[in-house]
Amino acid sequence: MMREERVRRLPMLISALVALAFAIIPLPAVLDQLRPDFLVLVVFYWSIESPRAGGLALAFFSGLALDVINGVVLGQHALALTLITAWATHLRLRLRVFSVLSQSLTIFMLLTLYQFILFWVDGATGNPVVNYGRWLAPVVGAVIWPILSATLNRMRER
């Protein structure tokens, strides 16, 4: 049991680090607005596929990393990511038997909620972002979700 968990956590950490790198890799301004929340998707994946490996802790600390890297108020992404990941974990058994389309739609809903929490914290802490572009990220995230989960599946099976 112990050994199994240890085996599970390494790919989790590696994929989270890679996703973090993807979150800050420089892109042209147009693509930058469309950039999906890679780290959020990766955290979703692990909380759905192996909820016992500590998905919530991963969510919390990934959120903190995003806060530090984005230079926003500490705890903002951590709060949003923890809440959404908890919900994704709760939904995981249904998600696993969903068709690809329904999975993507669910992910879209979760990502939108995630953006909404960020938006709300932004407003509550007094630096609102006046740009509709941020609502595009959930769409892109939902579109690449099947690809990402298939890639991570393959990586995990290896």
């Binding site: 930058d32 909820p51 230079g71 108020v73 500490l74 705890g75 709060l79 923890t82 809440l83 058994l93």
Partner: protein, 330 residues
């Protein structure tokens, strides 16, 4: 549904809820503490030590690519560049000759007025790190930080004009907020008329706006805006932008004025961090003896103590030396 419940034991679910509530409370606590009390600098700094390698790892391939492109430029393009730079240098030196006289004069006048508000004193050059921060905020990451003496609120320029100011400082990096960020405002002055106002960012790197000018204000397209030095954050007299468009609606009491920034906000890779000259104590005493003051202030005290000894990139803003060299040129 029932099948799901049996696999997902109720103990698990309540555990999930409990942990979720705990983490959320922790996150909320962090938000409140960070916002209200600003006590979390240490935690943030520790976390950024973890984030720094990731940022470095992402930035280095792009820096490598820039380096590679620079190192394989052809001899011809280098020669063309050199010719262009020499021509630019000649023009700059020509302007500097006049600048020195003007600066002495302005310093004399300032001594008369007993004010030395916001004169730039020392620069260090920082390079932009190839890292994207939040796509919807106008911020950039620069590779100079607290260890080079950079501080929060410090003015940042590029070769065209005012670029922004330091919003956050880590050990080896700092985050610069651009003048085009919607949360940023900079006190400016219209060079032609001396009219003072405030330029506010719009979230678009090619546009600032002057929202506080009355419809009757004397402002035209093409007017140069320079920093007024009020507020003390920015050095005085650096270009901020030119007025691109003025709309006057007689029904409104305020004019809508768009400004094109002078700095290349979306292209600059090298930025200058500026230290303002600290207000010299002797000026107050020397002010009554105004005629004697110029000679004292002409030998400008360049040995101002740097906050923590900048690296080799530190350069004193000493136009005297440059123009002396320029005079020696054939």
């Amino acid at each position: 549904m029932v099948a799901f419940r049996s696999t997902d034991t109720s103990g698990r679910t309540s555990g999930l809820l409990l942990r979720c509530v705990l983490y959320c409370l922790l996150a909320l606590g962090l938000i409140i503490f960070d916002k209200r009390y600003d006590h979390l600098g240490k935690i943030r700094r520790t976390l950024s030590f973890v984030a720094y390698p990731v940022q470095l790892a992402v930035a280095s391939p792009f820096e490598g690519w820039h380096w590679f492109r620079e190192s394989v430029t052809t001899r011809d393009s280098l020669r063309a560049d050199k010719a262009k730079l020499e021509a630019e240098l000649r023009v700059a030196e020509f302007r500097l000759q006049r600048y020195e006289a003007l600066e002495t004069e302005s310093e004399r006048l300032r001594a008369l007025r007993e004010s030395t508000a916001g004169v730039a004193d020392r620069f260090i050059i920082g390079d932009l790190m190839d890292v994207d921060l939040d796509a919807f905020r106008e911020r950039v990451l620069v590779d100079k930080g607290a260890s080079q003496g950079v501080f929060v609120g410090q003015a940042v320029l590029d070769s065209g004009g005012v670029f922004g100011q330091v919003a956050r400082v880590e050990q080896y990096t700092s985050e610069v907020i651009l003048i085009s960020d919607p949360a940023h405002a900079i006190p400016v002055q219209i060079n032609r008329t001396g009219l003072r106002t405030v330029a506010v960012g719009t979230g678009d790197t090619s546009r600032l706006k002057l929202p506080y000018l009355p419809t009757s204000a004397d402002v035209q397209e093409g007017d140069l805006l320079v920093t007024s030095g009020l507020g003390g954050g920015f050095p005085v007299g650096y270009p901020v932008g030119t007025v691109a468009r003025v709309r006057r609606d007689p029904a409104q009491s305020l004019a809508e004025v768009d400004v094109r920034p002078a700095a290349a906000l979306d292209r600059s890779r090298e930025l200058m961090f500026v230290w303002l000259k600290p207000a010299p104590a002797p000026v107050a005493g020397a002010a009554p003896a105004a005629p004697a003051a110029p000679s004292a202030s002409a030998a400008r005290p360049v040995a101002t103590p740097p906050p923590s000894g900048g690296a080799g990139t530190t350069a004193k803003a000493a136009p005297k030396n440059t123009s002396a060299k320029g005079a020696g040129r054939p």
